[in-house]
């Protein structure tokens, strides 16, 4: 652990050491930048420790076609990221893209999904985003373990998953090996533009750098205004159940159920607006369990070994925010609730762009300025 980093040692300070910050820091370091990550400590609202680990494309981008393309692009490049991580650290993050399902337990649910997919695809060329609507029999043919209550599914071959904790660790390992200074327990109190760069202060002291990238999740709401940016993100609580390890039997990820490479089955995902409360609520666990058991009756006998809740980082429209400050060029904000899916983009595409000083044109739609202007039809 570095004890102090002066401006002469660092080109970019990344504020936030989760999966988003780690992915960008890795990309920056691979492009030759000297990087410092300022992170909080052991207890923090870390979406990176609580996420569901999908690399997901289907159903994303209704209302913002650019988000669909951006997600697709990251999913397409995820094999490359997995290769990079393996090469840099020897860690296999268990990435696979076998295609993903969204199972429906009623005709209503299935119809709703069908309409959503249709509206989504009306926005873009269908050919690029293959998906299928399956009935019960076809779903059962592909996943023989489903229960009788499954009326059908949406399937997309683009979807996959990863071991997100291994990803998190591999990013930390890779950045460490690339010489990135990681500084825990460094909550940033202020960021001041100075000498064409930035000075970051906190109880830890101060760090100066030419560029600053805000990847502090929910903390971005507080930090962004310090450099003329806006990140109006709010917490959205989600709960997850994980079972004991069992022999592999779920070969495809689903929106609410997936089996990890270690063997445990993860079950999600609730969505609640409860501020910063992260208490696990049993009634929600029960509803998630009940649905999971109807989807796969054999899950009923498995022991639950853990549950947790975590806070998604949600913008007002649910889409990511990518911005460079107009008043303080060199200050960037990155915030999203799909840090795992987008990790490939963050390392391979976004980081080099940040270093070059300009965000790619494809990200123009993601500016937080979209929240400030009246919507036009």
């Amino acid at each position: 652990m570095a004890t102090h980093t002066s401006s002469s040692e660092t080109d970019v300070v990344v504020v936030g050491g989760g999966v988003v910050g780690g992915a960008i820091a890795l990309g920056l370091a691979r492009s030759g930048a000297r990087v410092t990550i300022l992170d909080e400590g052991d207890v923090a609202f870390r979406a990176s420790r609580g996420n569901f680990a999908l690399v997901w494309v289907q159903s994303k981008g209704l209302g913002m076609p650019d988000y669909a393309s951006w997600s697709r692009r990251s999913a397409d490049q995820w094999h490359q990221l997995a290769g990079v991580l393996n090469e840099e650290t020897g860690i296999d993050v268990a990435h696979s893209q076998p295609g993903g399902f969204m199972l429906c337990l009623s005709e209503d649910e299935l119809e709703q999904r069908r309409q959503t997919m249709q509206r989504l695809h009306n926005q873009m060329s269908l050919a690029d985003f293959p998906y299928e609507i399956l009935d019960h029999d076809e779903t059962k043919r592909r996943m023989p373990d489903i229960g009788k209550d499954v009326v059908g599914a949406v399937y997309s071959p683009l979807d996959g998953h990863v071991n997100s904790l291994k990803l998190f660790r591999a990013l930390r390992e890779a950045t460490q090996r690339r010489g990135v200074a990681y500084r825990p327990n460094c909550t940033v109190d202020s960021i001041t533009p100075r000498d064409g760069g930035f000075l970051l202060r906190g109880a830890f002291g101060e760090v100066a750098a030419a560029k600053v990238v805000l990847t502090a999740g929910l903390g971005n709401a507080r930090l962004a205004p310090m450099v003329g940016l806006d990140a109006p993100v709010k917490p959205s609580k989600g709960q997850i159940i994980v079972t004991e390890k069992t022999a592999p039997f779920l070969h495809n990820p689903m929106v609410t159920i997936r089996q990890t490479d270690e063997g445990g089955v993860m079950i999600g995902d609730s969505q609640e607006d409860r501020g910063f409360d992260t208490v696990v609520r049993q009634p929600i666990l029960s509803v998630m369990a009940e649905r999971a058991v109807r989807m796969f009756p054999r899950l009923a006998g498995l022991n639950v070994v853990r549950s947790w809740s975590a806070l998604r980082v949600m913008s007002p429209d649910g889409f990511p925010i990518y911005d460079q400050s107009e008043t303080c060029p060199g200050a960037f904000v990155v915030t999203c609730h799909s840090g795992v899916t987008l990790a490939a983009n963050h390392t391979l595409t976004l980081a080099p762009a940040i270093l070059s000083g300009a965000l790619p044109e494809t990200l123009a739609a993601f500016s937080a300025r979209r929240f400030h202007v009246p919507a036009h039809s």
Binding site: E244, K245, T246, A247, F249, G263, R298, L299, A300, G301, L302, N303
Partner: protein, 107 residues
Amino acid sequence: MFRPIAEAKASDGTRVAPVGFTFDGRAMTARAGDTVAAALLANGVQACRQTPVSGAPRGPYCMMGVCFECLVVIDGIGNRQGCLVPLRDGMRIQTQAGRRQPDEVQS
């Protein structure tokens, strides 16, 4: 290997009939009132499972429900804590071989 210090007796002094069970198909007996884990120890069974991570052998460690080392398959249901389950006549107990198998989940 554990051994009884005295012949098992009921509180009125009468001899209690032992309970019969099998472990991995081998017929065994133990004292009525024993837990599954104690019954295995009394029959010289030290390892009752292999870990799901490395396959290393493990046996009962705490006997009070906190360590989860005495996991066994009982009457077809996997990953049960042997130290908390009272032994019953005719129980079919098996080694928990690594992570739970699909056929060990019916309840």
